[in-house]
Symmetry: C2
Subunit: 147 residues, 2 copies
């Protein structure tokens, strides 16, 4: 393969409710009341943590066999530090996450050395993790204005 393009759309509904779509699949995001929303779904920064954990879980699923690790269960617990004053325009701080910590929960009877090598590997092959650790070039490609 070579560089591929992935796509999604995000459509604002009423209030802060947003419908996210990609390839016919969809989910909704919202904000809790204290961030100005109607609290009908998790918010984008929580979904970002979830996408990171899901990406790590899929890397784990894809590489378990190669590392001779039998995964009886695998889940990721994530926590990120973010100052809402950035988004709220109340302080000159970064708007996004300054740090994200994750804990792997693994149920396996495989050899400890194999599990250790496997765990060390997962973080190095995660597309969402890499997109957060190294800068991504974001560009406003255009504005389509309808009256």
């Amino acid at each position: 393969m070579a560089v591929e393009q992935f796509q999604a759309t995000a459509h604002l509904q009423s209030g802060t409710l947003v419908k996210v779509r990609s390839r016919g699949f969809e989910f909704t995001l919202d904000e809790p009341a204290e961030l100005g929303g109607t609290d009908t779904a998790m918010n984008p920064v929580e979904a970002l943590l979830g996408a990171l954990g899901a990406c790590q879980a899929i890397v784990a699923s894809a590489y378990a066999k190669k590392f001779k690790v039998q995964l009886d269960d695998f889940w990721v617990e994530l926590e990120g530090d973010l100052d809402p004053d950035g988004f709220m325009n109340k302080a000159d701080v970064r708007c996004g996450y300054s740090a994200i910590r994750y804990t792997y929960h693994i149920k396996s009877e495989s050899a400890q050395a194999d599990i250790d090598a496997f765990i060390a590997f997962i973080g190095t092959k995660c597309p969402v993790g890499d997109s957060l650790m190294q800068p991504v070039a974001l560009q406003l490609a255009g504005v389509v204005h309808e009256k």
Copy 2:
């Protein structure tokens, strides 16, 4: 406010299906067949684009009034460049997005100058966008191993 903690979990189900949860809300992610999945949901890198667009849409919703912009409709179209050879461990390329382009679709009869200032502002206050543009410190906080 000050720095706050946001949380989520990602639990691997069968195959590459992952259940993402935060504050009692949930959605699922999967991979298409060509990336080893069962194609029952969008994948984490598509969800990442969606979370970015949703975050921009929520910033738009939150600041429209301040910029005297009446939003009759607002949606974001996103596309990112990613080489799956990174995740597949087939080439020494970065695993994540190298670039993400987004197009705003806005329906509004407000003054063009107000819309222009509003559009320029949105990108600067988006927590997910900032998390992608500037490096985030990712840390494996622990491994909970059950046999």
